[in-house]
């Protein structure tokens, strides 16, 4: 798999094959955990309207029949750092999910948060041959987009047509069959580091799994956490993961911007670990049990043991009987969280989030579970901030419905109902090689 762009088409075929078989696995490769869900597709609309489930995003088509998480090893900043450790972690998660589902999965759809995603807005326009926009015209106008210089070793992860304009009419979702003279398209392109993706693909391939799709976790957590109105009117989703914080901006149900900073909950943990001179595991434990962002007077008297568990204590009495107040813990956590939010604010400003009609910000991901984050985020990001939890999907275990599973759930929706990417359209006939048989067939089809 050398060129990610060309393999995207193959992945779509894989996805079709997986749908035929009815079982597909979802793999969220994160920095702190690797989640694997097994979906079973029962065909469209098994549930009727009277069941109260509406097919709004295709989430009634499938059912989660297996779910497993494992602590992620060998992943840093959402990127594969140690190949075989990552492979083992993926294997653990996939095996446990398969065991729960009691079915073998061969196709997997993966998402990751790192690899320095960069957004580009592309525009292309085309004079139509005849007045009616055909499928080929759409392909041609997508091909006519001016490709920016992505940089060495960078690959296209998403390339979604966001908006079509015909003459002076803009905001068209589907221009096919409409009459006009000049077709223009706006496309959102997300590029990532190619090598990072190749590493991840290699890890998945080592687990005997076929990749049926790949997505950026900033995008998929936006799909699951933003409600329909927010996606329509404009909103940003902040996915606070372990090693990276992803941002995605949606408007008119399309992602128009995505980005990730390489900072997340693991940095908070390492701050605690360094500040209090305790192991990372203990730091993670007291962060999740006692962490917070707003100190009150009572927190001064709330003493936390940081000496470690009976199994991990050092044997030194003084070291093992250390205590800190919760205020101290908050004092360590808060600056780092503030820094992350400041970073988010800066990138949102750069992306022009101010100019959107609605500026809703939704915080999700495991890091968003810190108590008091909504208050702090309100102060930094603006008034319209809420904590988001992913959409409910059928069969998802209660333990996997939290904010930490936003990208896994989003990936389920992405698997069931993927957005049109530019490789979903047929290749324009001019791009075929001159002596290609397909070009000849195409010519016959067009002329008779």
């Amino acid at each position: 798999m050398t060129d990610l762009y060309t393999s995207q088409r193959t992945m779509r075929h894989m996805r079709q094959a997986a749908m035929q078989r009815g079982v597909v696995a979802i793999l969220d490769v994160g920095t702190s955990k690797i989640a694997c869900l097994v979906l079973r597709f029962d065909g469209p609309e098994r549930l009727r309207e009277q069941d109260g489930v509406k097919p709004m995003a295709g989430q009634s088509q499938f059912r989660v029949i297996g779910a497993a998480t494992t602590r992620s090893r060998g992943v840093r900043f959402g990127e594969v750092a140690v190949m075989n450790e990552t492979e083992r972690a993926i294997r653990t998660a996939v095996q446990a999910a398969q065991k729960m589902a009691n079915v073998r999965v061969d196709h997997v759809i993966a998402c990751f948060s790192g690899a320095e995603p960069r957004s580009y807005g592309l525009a292309g326009e085309l004079d139509l041959h005849d007045a009616v926009v055909s499928e080929q015209d759409v392909s041609r106008v997508l091909a006519a987009c001016d490709m920016p210089d992505l940089g060495a070793g960078r690959e296209v992860l998403h390339a979604q047509p966001v908006n079509f304009a015909l003459d002076h009419r803009s905001g068209l979702g589907d221009p096919r069959g409409q009459i006009g003279h000049r077709l223009a398209v706006d496309m959102h392109l997300l590029s990532v580091e190619g090598d990072v993706v190749q590493n991840l693909l290699y890890c998945i391939k080592r687990c005997d799994l076929e990749l049926a799709g790949i997505a950026s976790s900033a995008y998929v957590s936006g799909i699951s956490s933003l409600v329909e109105d927010e996606q329509e009117l404009g909103a940003a989703c902040i996915d606070m993961g372990g090693g990276a914080t992803g941002r995605s901006i949606f408007i008119k149900k399309h992602m128009i911007y995505a980005d990730a900073v390489r900072m997340g909950g693991d940095h908070v943990t390492s701050d605690i670990s360094k500040g209090l001179q305790i192991p990372l595991a203990t730091a993670e434990k007291i962060k999740t049990r006692h962490g917070g962002l707003y100190a009150t007077g009572m927190d001064d008297r709330d003493m936390i043991d940081i000496g470690g568990d009976p199994g991990t204590e050092s044997g030194d009495w003084d070291k093992d009987r250390r205590q800190i107040s919760r205020t101290e813990l908050i004092g360590i956590m808060r600056p780092r969280v503030e820094e992350i939010l400041e970073e988010v604010r800066a990138t949102l400003d750069v992306a022009g989030f101010d100019s959107l009609p609605s500026q809703q910000i939704v915080l999700t991901g495991g890091g968003s579970q810190i108590p008091g984050l909504d208050g702090l985020a309100t102060r930094i990001l603006g008034q319209r901030v809420r904590l988001g939890r992913p959409l409910r999907v059928q069969g998802l275990p209660q333990a996997a419905t939290g904010a930490a599973f936003a990208s896994a759930v989003g990936l389920c929706l992405f698997a069931a109902h993927p957005q049109d990417e530019c490789w979903d359209f047929e290749i324009p006939a001019e791009r075929y090689p001159a002596r290609s048989l397909r070009r000849a067939v195409k010519w016959f089809k067009d002329n008779w």
Binding site: T70, R88, Q95, Q98, V103, T312
Partner: protein, 321 residues
Amino acid sequence: MQPLIATRSFPRATQAAASLAPAPMPRAAAQPARGAKRDPAPSKWSYRKQRMLLTPHVRLFLRAGLPVLALVAGVAIWLGDDARRAALATELATLRAEFEARPEFRVSLARVEGASAPLAEAVRARLQLPLPMSSFDIDLAAVRARIEELDAVLSADLMVRSGGVLEIVVTERLPVAIWRTETGLTLVDETGQRVAGLLSRADQPDLPLIAGDGADRAVSEALALTAAAEPLAHRIRGLVRIGERRWDLVLDRNQRVLLPEENPVQALERLLALDQVQDVMNRDILTVDLRSDHRPTLRLTPNALAELRRAQGLDTVENAL
């Protein structure tokens, strides 16, 4: 210093070295060892094994195919030895023989029903079964065929009843006519099949008598004629088949009615009507020829003919011839 790229087996190597060192070192060494033990990741081969076992075909094979295959293979191997196979065959034969020889299946009595005493005797003689014997050894179909070979038996039903009784329900062939041939008298049924021989006509006075070649093949026609000739019943002596194609009704006083080949019953009925009106048959006639349906022809006796001519004033020259 630990190597940067470590294999997961490294704590085992360090543990031995660490046991020499005092206080905190064993603990430090024990930590990764426990960590390694707690590693939840399956090995590549156990992962593959689990995936293979979850494959639908493999699961089906393991659940159904493998036990069947093992069973078949076991039986085949066991039967592979000639001696064992022979032993099994004799064992089975013995079992079968023992089972068949049980008193529940023994037939010790044959009961004939639906037959007259002489026929029952004949049937019993025809059985040729060395009773008592096992009901498995009786070939009922062959016995039935043997019994049905008897002329007087129309059909026979054989059943082995409880209590070791072989019940033979015989339907007798009913004689409907007596056929007189050169060799003697024979009782025949309506299909012309021989039922039994007859010594004297007087043994069966109620049955009509038929005679002539091929009479047995037209018994039903003869019966119809007999039934039609009911008004003349007291005078009928019998029916004679002429030329294997038509009937003569023979009455007493040597009278004969020559019936046509086609529609003899109708012709006879016409004669009876004539008889009723004109009292034909009581007159001094030898034969009534009905073979032509345009007109019946009468032959008078010579005396009657002479009397008729004399009455008409005709004088005939007669001689003794």
